[in-house]
Amino acid sequence: MKVTILTGSDDLNFSLERYLYFVFYEQITDVFRARLGCPETMRPEMLSSQLWIAEAFNPDDVDNPEGFRTVKKFAGNTRSLLLFSSDRPETFPAGGSFWLTIPSKTRLSGKIRQVIENLPPTIEEFQRLERLLPILGGKPFNHHNDYHNKG
C-alpha cells in the first residue's frame, strides 16, 4: 500500500512514517511525505496513494483547513484519515469513520486499520463533516508568497 502523509511539520511526518513502517510493515510499500503550506512538496506519485493521512488544519495557519480540502479531492476514490487537534469545539465528535482528534483514547493503529478496511469516504461524508464544523467548508485563503507581492 502506498501512503501519503501530509502534515504541517517535518518531524511529525518522519514520526508517522516510522510508525507506519513499524506497525504496518507487511502492508506498506511506499510512504510519501508532504508539508501543508508547501505545495512544492507534492509529487506526481502521490496521486496513486491508496491512503492519505493528513492534518485537517495547517498548524501554522490554524483556521486554514488545507489538509481537509486536499483529501476531499480524493473523495470516493482514496482512503483517508484526517487528524484534528484537540482545540476543536466540544460539539465536534472526537472521532469518526475517517477522522480522529489527537491526542485521543483511540489507538492510532486501530483507527488506521479501520480506515484501511473501510471503503474510501464519499463526498457526502466529507460534506457531513463540513456541517459539523463549518470552517472546513470555507473558501481557500489564497495565501500568496509575498516575495515581491506579485506573481
Binding site: 501530509l6 508532504a34 508539508r35 501543508l36 503550506g37 508547501c38 505545495p39 512544492e40 512538496t41 507534492m42 506526481p44 502521490m46 496521486l47 486554514n64 488545507e66 489538509g67 480540502r69 486536499t70 479531492k73 481557500p140 485563503f141 489564497n142 495565501h143 500568496h144 508568497n145 509575498d146 516575495y147 506579485k150 506573481g151
Partner: protein, 144 residues
C-alpha cells in the same frame, strides 16, 4: 532558423518573465505570454516545455487562470509537458495542478538550479518518448 528547443513561459509579471528568460535563453528559444489568451495563441506542437503561472492577474488575489489554461493545453496538446509555478501556498493547488496533468509544481520564487534539473529530466523523458514512438513505427513497418 533556430534549432534550439522552444519553451513557452506564461506569467503576467513582465519582470518575472525577464528573469526566467535570462535563466533559460542560453539553451532554449524562449517565447513568453502574459495572459490566458496570449498563451492560447502561442501554444503550438513544436514547444518542448511550458512553464505556467497559476495566477495570471496580479490584481486578483483569487485568480487561477493558469489552471484553466493547463486544462486547455492538456486537452489540445496532451504531449507537451507543463510545469506549474505559483506563489500560492495552498497545498491543494498542487494536487489540482497534477490532477490536471502538470508534470511538476514549483513554488515561486523559483530556484534556478531546481528548475534546470526539472527541465533536464523532462527533456530526457521527451527524447526517450520520441525514440519509443520511432521504434514502434519501425517495428510496425518491419512486421508489414
Amino acid at each position: 532558423m533556430s534549432k534550439e528547443p522552444k519553451i513557452l513561459i506564461v506569467d503576467d509579471i513582465e519582470e518575472y518573465l525577464k528573469s526566467l528568460k535570462a535563466i533559460l535563453e542560453n539553451k532554449f528559444s524562449v517565447i513568453t505570454a502574459t495572459s490566458l489568451e496570449d498563451a492560447r495563441n502561442k501554444v503550438s506542437n513544436d514547444i518542448e516545455i511550458i512553464l505556467l503561472d497559476i495566477r495570471l492577474d496580479e490584481n486578483d488575489d483569487a485568480n487561477k487562470d493558469g489552471l484553466l489554461l493547463l486544462e486547455w493545453i492538456k486537452n489540445k496538446y496532451p504531449e507537451i509537458p507543463v510545469v506549474m509555478m505559483s506563489g500560492y501556498k495552498e497545498f491543494d493547488l498542487a494536487v489540482d495542478s497534477l490532477n490536471l496533468g502538470a508534470s511538476y509544481f514549483l513554488r515561486k520564487p523559483i530556484n534556478s538550479s531546481e528548475l534546470n534539473v526539472i527541465i533536464k529530466t523532462i527533456m530526457e523523458k521527451s527524447v526517450l518518448f520520441r525514440e519509443n514512438v520511432e521504434l514502434k513505427e519501425k517495428l510496425k513497418k518491419f512486421k508489414t
